[in-house]
Symmetry: C2
Subunit: 329 residues, 2 copies
Amino acid sequence: MNDDVARVLGGDQRVISRIMTSLERRFPAVTSVIKELDHHTGNAYTIGLTGPPGVGKSTLVDRLTGHLRALGLTVGIIAVDPDSPFSGGSILGDRIRMQRHYLDSGVFIRSVSTRGQGGGLPRTVKCLVRVLDAAGKDVIIVETVGVGQTELGVMGVADTIVVALMPESGDTIQTLKAGVLEIANLFLVNKADREGADRMAAALRSMLQIAAEPQDWEPPVVLTRADRGEGIEALWEEIESHRNYLSTSAGAGDYRSLLEERRGERRRAEFLETLQEELFQRLKARIEREQTLQSIVEDIGNGKLEPYSAASELLADPAALGSSFLSNE
Amino acid sequence: MNDDVARVLGGDQRVISRIMTSLERRFPAVTSVIKELDHHTGNAYTIGLTGPPGVGKSTLVDRLTGHLRALGLTVGIIAVDPDSPFSGGSILGDRIRMQRHYLDSGVFIRSVSTRGQGGGLPRTVKCLVRVLDAAGKDVIIVETVGVGQTELGVMGVADTIVVALMPESGDTIQTLKAGVLEIANLFLVNKADREGADRMAAALRSMLQIAAEPQDWEPPVVLTRADRGEGIEALWEEIESHRNYLSTSAGAGDYRSLLEERRGERRRAEFLETLQEELFQRLKARIEREQTLQSIVEDIGNGKLEPYSAASELLADPAALGSSFLSNE
């Protein structure tokens, strides 16, 4: 295992891939590796990129990666793919466009499917980012297709969150799920050559003024044309200024900066999420094993018991669940 | 309390409202009421309506309600509102359009905000539906704005799920979150007078043929123009044929029909969700109380401990959590 840690720290792409697969499949043995690797993290800067399908996120990631490589920075990319029969084709196409970077040892690309991850996806992505951070990547880009609750969770891994839109997204601004606009540190209007790009940017700016609480950081709006690489430099500059803002603002309590404070908050949240998920897995396993619990579930299914009150009654009698901590609330 | 049950069964709108507020706020006292009411449920038919913002869902609900009332059926409506500063205005407008039904004692309308509900929203909605079912409503319509993970969860309450789109949603088909198309029992293309409506319907039909596993029930595509009430009768006919399909198909095991089987599955899922949520609330409360757990959380925040492995280690030592059932996995 320590051998694996050393190899990840040395940037061995094959071992990194294997560790990542273990993480996705929740192999218990990987826990000690992650624990070791964590001591070597904190140097990478993580960017989250989200927005509706079709705005050109993959092209943006491709171009931004090219720009970062030209600056001498190494890059890790985690692309979260929704698992729908309807989107398979276009996603594959996106990935093919990224292929030139597959040959570059300074770039590591990993696709993560939402399949089978359920609510655990954000946690998996956080662990993957930790691996790439330990492996010495300077910048890690996490890209999600879609703007739902799961994507919001995944964005929780990022230091800077970029929400990408395009001129045709005019109606889409309201389509964006509640919460997406609120978490953005930076907006991007791609395909800026199309009609309505300036109008879109202006609409975004005025929406931000209406909706946002006054804050020290006002999310800028960057216009790009990713297919030609236009605006990518400006995008990186704005990301750098957000990073600078986070690094130079004071953190609460013992935290040296706002960046450290927010990273600390995210780590604490990750701990709670992991506990929650594991507890539920164990609860389900226990129900499957215990005959009395099984018959409660059956009676709920056939209408003899009501689900909500049955759950409350079970929790009020923790001996039935075999759990002592339940009685302490 | 039994008085409250009797009043709900009698359709007392004021008591129904009060019980619903208690449910949203998770007052423990309401548990016994829900338990009693459950014995009087199973008669209502529940329709879920979802789709991207702007397709006219509120107008559809309004028109469908009018149609059902004309048929002599009573209607319960639960409208789930996202809680975003960007959507407040338009939602309010939607609600105003529904106002004519507020004066009709055969219609009960309830708005539920996503605010503060977190992952518990689907469970709250299920309890609200149970109350309306017990109160004797013939048809219950649950409308959600948006197409994210939470909305998918809310749709889990419905016997028939209708996904509404419009001609301009052409690009939106891929915008729909993975899973939404898969759960639809019926598609609806509203604003069917606009250009591209037939093309949209044809595209949906061919997508369904490519993507769907062969099933006994093939989701029909209904064209509507809700602002004029056109297609509403056809919509209801298709809902009725889905209901008929569910009622006449054989159920697994002891279930009399597929409808009963699916309702049983949903009740069992609701039980597990309630347990999961309650357990997590108790876990959080315990962490806040216990000094040793608090210091683990702090060390995770300041980087001394890694979140994922710390959670695993804590779960491996259930005495630390004060829980005996944790050790049984």
